[in-house]
Point group: C2
Chain length 593, copies 2
């Protein structure tokens, strides 16, 4: 296929594509048209191809969003079936594209495909596989639910989970074997394929988020009417016939515990596919590929212990909170107070952790790595972007607390909790982003304390070769291992020096000291593993129903029910994504420090 394409290109450039100075008008017209035809068959310029495909993807998502908004109104015309049919079509198109892609790669197995090593790591793919498995269970439950009600619900509800399960399996296969590919042939076409996959997953994410938000809103309203607060009608799309099997209610209630995993699965796949899209047509700088340094786990005690403590207390808080919510006003209030106190303790520790990490980086000055890396750029933008949801929620809480007329017992703890949420995300983002941008240089300068300072070096220089100092085994890409060293003579601040390449130096036997992990690194590793566990904790709570923002009533008083639920429906999914994304980024930091 590609050969034909290239052949056409060459033919074009040789025969027709030159502009001619001939003055004959009809011939001139003919030439212009043949030139136009040739240019159209040529690959589209990269920037345009990005925009064309990006606009296509955005519009696909927006069609879905429009359908979802219509469903949210529970109007008479647009039903969930319509939306599911649309999504099923998108999924089938993606399946065809993936099949085509895999077949083409298979046929051209001999041609080496460039790969972007930064695209995903083994454990990200492993995690995605786990999430995919839980998604498959969810599909199985959906099929079971359809079987029970098949006489009175649309066939789409049966077809959709089958197609979705196929899609999940195919996509996991794609993630394992093709996600790192740097596509260099038929770029424009492939661009459409990849962006279609990205936006299909995003749409599935949106759908999951909407279903979950609706579920929580219904739950919330049920509680409110149980307490006699509100008289709101709960819209339930229950089927009109009886279930033919005995497991229908089990299926539909279990579904909600699997939703959080399904949601994270789709958004993560969308992010990894987006990196693949950004990589299309890119020229990879091969010198920057390097082997991963084996993770050392020496001296890793305080971080994991504190982290496990946090996780355990989280489970406790979750159980107490959910059981207390169903009871009297007084119990509810004590549960909410408990949540805020727990949250304050967590966030104080997390903020301290992030701040200590940043201080260590300040004490250990290194220039940042600025090589191109779409995966890292996306990580940064996503962290920043998804923080916005939580920040908005926190500032709304602060405004509500300061302006509130009623004063429940948790009023001021809510204020402190909200302020700490802002602060914690602020420091954590800085810590993660700086770690991601430092890591490459960092792995090379494994032990900065071992680099002797010039003035001391001059005293002891008779014992070791000058400037090569102690060669560290971590220099696995010697070409790029230029370490910033302050120089003694220069008045202009700093000078960058390249140590002599290790391959050119014979190591003196006495220098092969196997040193334990340096203290700074140990601290950083402990901090990152602690933050990983804390972020998992703060993901678990809202994902499984501990959402005091719905229950505390303060914000609702200031903003009104509809504005506040809109804010929450926007902010909570973003916050959930933020926590999961922070976990994956922090784990990367942990591996690379």
């Amino acid at each position: 296929m590609m050969v034909e394409h290239n052949g056409l290109d060459i033919m074009c450039s040789n025969k027709y594509c030159h502009s001619s100075s001939s003055s004959s008008s009809s011939e001139h017209d003919k030439k212009i048209f043949s030139k136009l035809k040739c240019n159209l068959s040529r690959d589209y310029p990269k920037k345009n191809a990005e925009i064309v495909s990006g606009q296509y993807g955005t519009n696909v998502l927006l069609v879905g969003a429009a359908l979802m908004l219509a469903i949210a109104h529970h109007g008479p015309t647009v039903k969930e079936d319509h939306f599911l049919s649309f999504v099923t079509c998108l999924i089938i198109v993606q399946l065809f594209w993936m099949m085509w892609y895999i077949l083409v790669r298979h046929r051209r197995k001999d041609a080496r495909t460039e790969r972007d090593v930064h695209a995903t790591s083994c454990w990200i793919r492993g995690g995605l596989t786990l999430l995919a498995l839980l998604s498959l269970i969810m599909d199985a439950f959906r099929i079971g639910y359809y079987v029970g009600y098949h006489s009175c619900v649309s066939a789409v509800l049966g077809v959709y989970p089958v197609i979705h399960a196929t899609h999940t399996v195919a996509q996991v296969h794609f993630l394992w074997f093709h996600i790192k590919d740097v596509i260099k042939s038929l770029e424009t076409f492939e661009r459409f394929g990849v962006i279609h996959a990205v936006f299909t997953n995003l749409l599935l994410w949106c759908n999951g988020v909407m279903s979950e938000a609706e579920h929580f809103l219904n739950n919330h309203m049920r509680r409110l009417s149980a307490l006699g607060y509100a008289n709101l009608t709960i819209v339930h799309a229950e089927p009109q016939c009886n279930c033919t099997t005995s497991t229908c209610s089990m299926f539909s209630s279990s579904l909600y515990y699997l939703y959080p995993f399904n949601i994270e699965y789709h958004i993560f796949v969308a992010a990894t596919l987006f990196v693949m899209w950004k990589n299309i047509g890119r020229t990879i700088d091969l010198s920057s590929t390097r082997k991963r340094v084996a993770t050392k786990t020496q001296g890793l005690t305080l971080g994991p212990i504190l982290g496990l403590l946090a996780l355990a207390s989280t489970i406790g808080v979750l159980v107490v909170y959910i059981t207390h919510m169903e009871e009297s006003v007084r119990t509810r209030q004590s549960a909410i107070s408990m949540f805020y106190i727990y949250g304050i303790v967590m966030l104080v520790f997390m903020s301290i952790g992030g701040a200590v990490g940043l201080l260590i980086y300040r004490a250990d000055y290194l220039p940042l790595d600025t090589t191109k890396n779409p995966s890292r750029q996306l990580d940064t933008k996503l962290l920043f972007g998804s923080s916005v949801g939580s920040w908005l929620m926190s500032w709304c809480s602060i405004v509500a607390v300061l302006g509130a007329e009623s004063s429940p017992p948790y009023r001021w703890t809510n204020l402190i909790y909200s302020l700490l949420t802002v602060l914690e995300k602020y420091t954590q983002n800085l810590f993660i982003i700086e770690s991601l941008y430092r890591q490459q240089v960092h792995t090379k300068r494994d032990d900065p304390e071992l680099l002797p300072a010039p003035e001391i070096f001059s005293v002891t220089s008779s014992l070791a070769p000058p400037y090569t100092g102690i060669i560290n085994r971590a220099y696995d890409t010697p070409d790029r291992a230029c370490v910033a060293m302050e120089n003694e003579q220069g008045e202009s601040g700093q000078v960058y020096k390249c140590p002599i390449k290790p391959s050119e130096v014979s190591l003196p036997g006495g220098n092969k000291v196997v040193r334990p992990l340096n203290v700074k690194k140990q601290v950083l590793k402990n901090i990152s593993i602690f933050l990983v566990m804390c972020n998992i904790s703060l993901w678990i709570l809202p994902a499984f129903g501990c959402r005091p923002q719905y229950d505390n009533g303060l914000e609702q008083e200031t903003f009104g029910f509809s504005i506040w639920t809109t804010v929450l429906n926007f902010a909570i999914p973003l916050n959930l994504f933020y926590r999961m994304h922070a976990v994956s980024s922090l784990f990367e930091v942990f591996c690379q420090v």
Copy 2:
């Protein structure tokens, strides 16, 4: 100030900042602390400084957003005064920063400041000055309104317009004399100053958008209750006392005609300041600075004529629409039908214009310019991002039309109008973005038709010097004037050749042919000026009250009142910004083609 800072830096790097291998523990600790102190006083790494300041700005905006949401609820606690006090504080901080910045620049007048020539153009600043003047009139009206009601409204309502007017004047001065500066000293501090200015303007934009949306919603509900459709209470924050002057109602009603200009002013200033922020610490590639080619207006007839026709019919449609809206259901429906038919005609012509432009680019293959240019990158992202609002609105309309149960006369014209809106933005974005990315190379290869094709060249080569061909006066940066030429011998597609620099070549007298603008360029110029006027037209209509999305009832039926007004409150301001931004980008295209 800067000299002291640098001095400290040098002292640090010479005396304390080396790590030492001394084993004495207390001395070691001392050294670590002094190193830490030195590193903290050093300028923060660029990436981190970006994140720190970006997070600060985002949070400032979110505090404002939280206050605005609380006001939108019309609750008892948070009033507009609180929000205005907050904004006034932000404005005062920005004023202090601008004063400080201008003073520092003034003191170091002798030191040459680097400037980014792409940052803004003369006519953008001119346009902003005009918008600023209209903003000042608005402030004057606000002061007049306050004077009338001063006995019963908060003093903040009098202080705010005075401060805002000062801010406007100071900001316009800043725009004219400092917006192109590339800041290279005290980077971290300046970064905070600039981002503070960006987000202050964004917040003022949000505030304007909210006030306008509320005004339209009130108008809409007034009409609905006049027609007996709905029985909604309109919340008006009217003062509790009588106006002491006779002009209060004049002031408050005129304000709404000035809002659209004020809104555009703030968002444009925010965008230009954001480019300044991106430029901080950047090293400008001086070779890419070039003089602007004088705009030729030869052969410019069809575009401006059609454009003026569009503008004139827009004014007509606007007047008819607004007067008809106040009348019976039948007249309303005919006005809405008229709007859609007018819209379809406009959008068809605009889509054709964009498509023709793209075909011309396809016929005239050129590699795109990929040099770094934050201003252009931002333009691209903003065009793309602000299209989303309008696309969402269009897809919602399409879903509503397809699912509607009622069938008003404008049902199917609404469908066609919505589809064309999607298509028109799609082609227009592509056209603008490709134009912006081509322009630099394009100005150099002024007349591609004049470059002789090699095979014909070989026949006539006895008459002209080889390969330099006809030298065009438009080569103003000869170093970069490498023109892509397909070569005859190579099988590999294309080869880039640099023509000999014009300065090194003596032009043969016979080649100094002053040719008229080439046909393609004339067409492109006509298209861009036509699109400019069409975009102005499509800005005028919603800005001054022609919003059939509120009036046609179809979408409201499918999505419900609250969801649909939320969508509109999000989408219409984005669409207004899109149109204005497209005007400025297309004008740039017009100047550069």
